[in-house]
Symmetry: C2
């Protein structure tokens, strides 16, 4: 294969050699990638078993398809065929996948070998992907999509071998959001026993973030949820000291609810995947406090101008999906916190 | 006026009482505000003299109007008439204004009195505004728009009396971007003599940020500019230790240029008002470093997924337009740094 590879030009650990258009941008920013199954020497090819669509993307697909399974399947197939990756053109977001390594190039630094069952920890929005077949195993009502096809990992991609002690769908769901608890842990542990509010605390990233906040030394964890059913789930989990019901898109409502529960928060973590949560998070946060935005539905301008508009001197962080050791931290929270496991089991069962 | 005010219902320091649609959201997120000149007791009415459009908004207006002055004027008038505020519906951003206080309500906490010449430090995107006349004094080629009309400040708005020792257009231009040097100063002064890269260092927010970085203890300031003309301007200013030319939207180009100039940067400040600068800023930043996004053209998902996609463990901050003392810090930089004054004079003269 050496000669063929040489004829194709050198590869880039960032995957620039897979970008078809526009040329020169990173794969995440590209409109179209080349999902050719033949790998460069520093790449890895994976036989895909399952896609885990990003929550914001899945919500958009469902809503724009009016919950019609055939329409949702056609949308996903169409996006992947056109773009060579599963990046929702409306939300810009992707998700992740699991599969089995079929070939590892001799210069790949990822330490993977054929037969390893792995999850990708880089977004689908930059992962070359081709789907074979018609997604017949997917009923369109869950963001976890059984799938046949192949995907490509670059030299600088990240993937984790799936742990043997946890079910695959659980590990996948945990790894998909593992950036949230890792960054929450880092921010909370640098503050002095802060009050932490988690918007969407009964969700996947929210429950992990609440558990991480407590473990990192929060003096109080306030969980904000949209309705009674989630409040009951969160109370059962025991992950929050206070559970309050508020519409995260109602700035005054959220702010008052958090204050009534012992706020304002020194650290507010936004894990609600709907647009319009910026104002409430900012108003619920104390002067010189920190807001961490993990929702892919966050608007940069709404956050920047929203804080300025109410003269809020708060630090606002873009939730980075990667930090060193993030997958292990999140998997350990699932292992050690029955409340987190409870919520993930409920969520995986419900497919919500 | 007491009776009339009572009949209108209570006011909110956040301006919720001025929101027409959708009800319940903050003024910044609203589609339409009520610019009624009659003030509530905690409000201030300002006779507007000049609008300073946000750079991203002005660029969009110019480009979509093909630089036709009549078309640009009509766009601004149309937006203000329809929305009751000057918020560009495409970019979501606004700008700021100067004017003279015409009435201060008895319960206003802003400390202003009729006759004060002020600049608003909250965005036009949430400031009730009505324009009289046809913007005839504006040729459409500058973001500074001579204007007649009135604007409303809420209880929690921020405004600054214009300093007597600086020309009004200069103060306005400085205050418009004063959040950038303030946050840069805070971040740099908390790090240990960091290397700082400023993308767009020959611009207004960029030059102030470069000056703030040096004042806050940066060991090296690397200024990144798009072409020779800006490089010359930045060299003349003396604000950067190294001046490099690179296209901020070319991730690999920016990253390599910053590295060649003494990087990677511990702190990267993005002051380039065009889309697609997230990847380059992330790649130019050292592991565990910080990226501060000030451009309103920043995409939240591009930043979040871009960092994850290249396994970059960097802290990413949403540039908050407000922090305590920000206007004074920026005005003092203009007073003390001839290089900043030079760039602002060039920029104000050029109207770029």
């Amino acid at each position: 294969m050496g000669k063929v590879v040489a004829a194709r030009g050198a590869s880039s650990p960032l995957g620039l050699h897979r970008v078809i258009e526009p040329l020169g941008v990173l794969p995440q920013a590209a409109w179209r990638l080349n999902p050719d199954p033949e790998i460069w020497p520093d790449e890895v090819r994976v036989d895909v078993e399952r896609l885990n669509l990003d929550a914001a993307s899945f919500r958009q697909l469902r809503e724009s398809s009016h919950d019609d399974p055939d329409a949702i399947r056609a949308r996903v197939l169409g996006i992947v065929a056109e773009r060579g990756k599963m990046q929702n053109p409306v939300t810009g977001s992707g998700g992740m996948l699991t599969g089995v390594v079929s070939e590892a190039g001799p210069k790949s630094p990822l330490g993977l070998k054929p037969g390893d069952r792995i999850a990708t920890l880089v977004s689908l929005s930059l992962t070359p992907l081709a789907i074979t077949g018609g997604l017949d195993g997917w009923n369109g009502s869950s963001e976890q999509v059984p799938c046949h096809g192949h995907a490509i990992l670059f030299g600088r991609s990240i993937a984790a071998v799936l742990p043997g002690d946890l079910p695959v769908p659980l590990s996948l769901a945990v790894m998909d959001v593992c950036g949230a608890p890792a960054l929450t842990h880092r921010v909370v542990s640098r503050a002095a026993r802060p009050v932490v509010a988690v918007l969407g605390a009964a969700g996947k990233s929210g429950s992990l973030s609440a558990a991480a906040a407590r473990q990192a030394g929060a003096s109080r964890v306030i969980g904000v949820v949209p309705h009674d059913r989630e409040a009951a789930m969160l109370r059962t989990s025991g992950l929050a000291d206070e559970v309050v019901i508020a519409d995260a898109t109602d700035p005054v409502g959220v702010s008052e609810a958090v204050r009534a529960a012992g706020g304002p928060a020194d650290v507010t973590v936004v894990c609600v995947d709907v647009p319009g949560c910026e104002g409430g998070a900012i108003l619920a946060t104390a002067d010189r406090g920190t807001v961490i935005f993990f929702s892919m539905a966050t608007s940069f301008t709404a956050a920047a101008l929203g804080a300025e508009g109410v003269a809020a001197d708060v630090t606002m962080l873009v939730g980075n999906g990667y930090s060193a050791g993030h997958a292990e931290l999140a998997l350990n929270l699932v292992r050690s916190e029955p409340g987190v496991r409870h919520i993930f089991d409920m969520r995986t069962r419900d497919d919500t």
